[in-house]
């Protein structure tokens, strides 16, 4: 009887339960190291630049134009990405259809392809693929020429012009936005939409009135992610839009151009501006998101 009692107690002996300390140390250690790496990178940039370099960069009309073009193209990319990712994410989350896995895999291609390849592919698509004996660039260019004649601010084509920057950024950024929207809609119980349909809604009513309002935070997250990805896109922009000073120059291109002429201080100063612009825009979007969700 005594032996049985001893055996029953033994498995619960505190000495047999492993300490949580190694696990928690590993958790904090690994995450902390990554945070330290990011801080070290920013600190290295900060040590290599000065307020004078930053001011000089801000006074440069090319850099100022580049900042405005970056804000314009990133915002256009974020808006386009949301317009595409919301329906695509909803389709993936709510419907089962033949070839869904292939559809899903295709949407991941821009995430896994090297950015330069995306730029090159866009260049070939617009300039080498012929439809009715004309390239897509010629088709769209012909149509945009008319708009350009009406208003000079509208570009007269796509390749090596501002639309190419937006299209290059959009091709990559939208894939990330689609993932975000798919996860968002998968996290929303479809039962509420089903109830709405029994109450007199069609599928579209259930989407607009029930699913989309619940997905508001996901939409903001998708837009933020697309914006941030667009800000960092360089490879596809370089290949498809070129790197013409004051014309197709976004901040990522400016950093490249400054390095290529040996102005490392200028490149670091512009990098710092990119960080500042990113922090300001992302904070504003987060703040807006938090206010809407209250």
């Amino acid at each position: 009887m005594e032996a049985v009692r001893m055996m029953a107690v033994e498995p619960y002996s505190p000495s047999k339960i492993r300490s949580d300390a190694p696990f928690l140390t590993a958790l904090w250690g690994i995450s902390g190291m990554y945070v330290l790496l990011i801080i070290a990178v920013l600190a290295a940039d900060a040590s290599y630049t000065s307020a004078r370099d930053l001011w000089a960069a801000l006074e440069d009309p090319n850099v100022r134009a580049s900042i405005w073009l970056t804000l314009l193209t990133c915002t256009a990319t974020a808006i386009l990405s949301v317009l595409v990712s919301v329906p695509a994410g909803y389709v993936l989350a709510r419907f089962n259809f033949p070839l869904k896995k292939i559809f899903d895999a295709i949407l991941d291609i821009p995430i896994v392809l090297p950015p330069l390849v995306i730029g090159l592919s866009l260049l070939i698509l617009f300039n080498q693929v012929m439809i009715g004996g004309q390239s897509i660039e010629k088709w769209i260019g012909g149509w945009m020429e008319g708009l350009h004649a009406w208003n000079e601010n509208i570009p007269s084509g796509v390749t090596y012009k501002i639309p190419a920057i937006i299209l290059a950024q959009f091709t990559v950024s939208c894939a990330f936005a689609v993932r975000t929207m798919r996860n968002t809609f998968e996290g929303i119980d479809p039962r509420q939409e089903e109830v709405a349909m029994t109450l007199g809604c069609g599928r579209s009513g259930a989407f607009w009135l029930i699913a989309l309002p619940q997905a508001a935070r996901g939409v903001i997250a998708a837009a933020t992610l697309a914006w941030a990805r667009a800000l960092g896109e360089f490879g596809p922009v370089l290949v498809f839009a070129g790197a013409t000073r004051g014309s197709t120059e976004v901040l990522a291109t400016t950093v490249f151009l400054e390095i290529s002429i040996g102005n490392l201080e200028g490149a670091v100063a512009v990098s710092f501006l990119m960080i500042a612009v990113a922090i300001m825009v992302l904070s504003a979007v987060r703040l807006l998101g938090m206010r809407q969700s209250v």
């Binding site: 119980d189 039962r191 509420q192 089903e194 109830v195 709405a196 349909m197 029994t198 109450l199 007199g200 809604c201 069609g202 009513g205 009135l209 029930i210 309002p213 619940q214 508001a216």
Partner: protein, 214 residues
Amino acid sequence: MIEIRNLCVRAGDFRLDNVNLSVPESGYTVLMGKTGCGKTTLLECVCGLKRAHSGSIHFGTHDVTTLRPAERGVGYVPQDGAVFSTMKVSDQLSFGPRMRGWEKSKALSRAAEIADELGIGHLLQRFPEGLSGGERQRVALGRALACRPQVLCLDEPLSALDDETRDEICDLIENLRQNHPFAALHITHSRAEAERLGDEIFLLNADGCKLLEL
């Protein structure tokens, strides 16, 4: 009022075969059966949320088998209520009437009327967050009944509630039956709940639907 004839449903590997069941006008039929036997699938089929593979569903003389959920005029109360998380209670209760083309003022006054009937008049300006399980089920019931449906489908509406709240909602459903001439199909695992609310109890199993003696 509800007439299900030789209904077969296919959903992936799941099959529901040869189900026959009828609920008389203003009748209250309870459907029981083991977990996974297809009770919810059958209810979703009645609501139009799942397609019938074969067989038919009639509401009165109308064949509704191929109609979309919005065209059937069914009140549906799912297990967890599925209250609309971004809408105030008043908007939830007026949602059905608004979707059916009622004027906004009429829909809101109908929402206030049904809220009073269900004892949730004080919650009209509240969002669902923070409502208790019983309050949520009252909102779900009110939302389903706001358009005065002829058919009410309830999928384990009381399963997540404590005993006291369950009794309150049972009392409420009994009272609602006095004022609303709906035919109800109610799924539950509780024999006591079935015997208290049901005029008839059906057992769903692999052989179809069998009427149990009360």
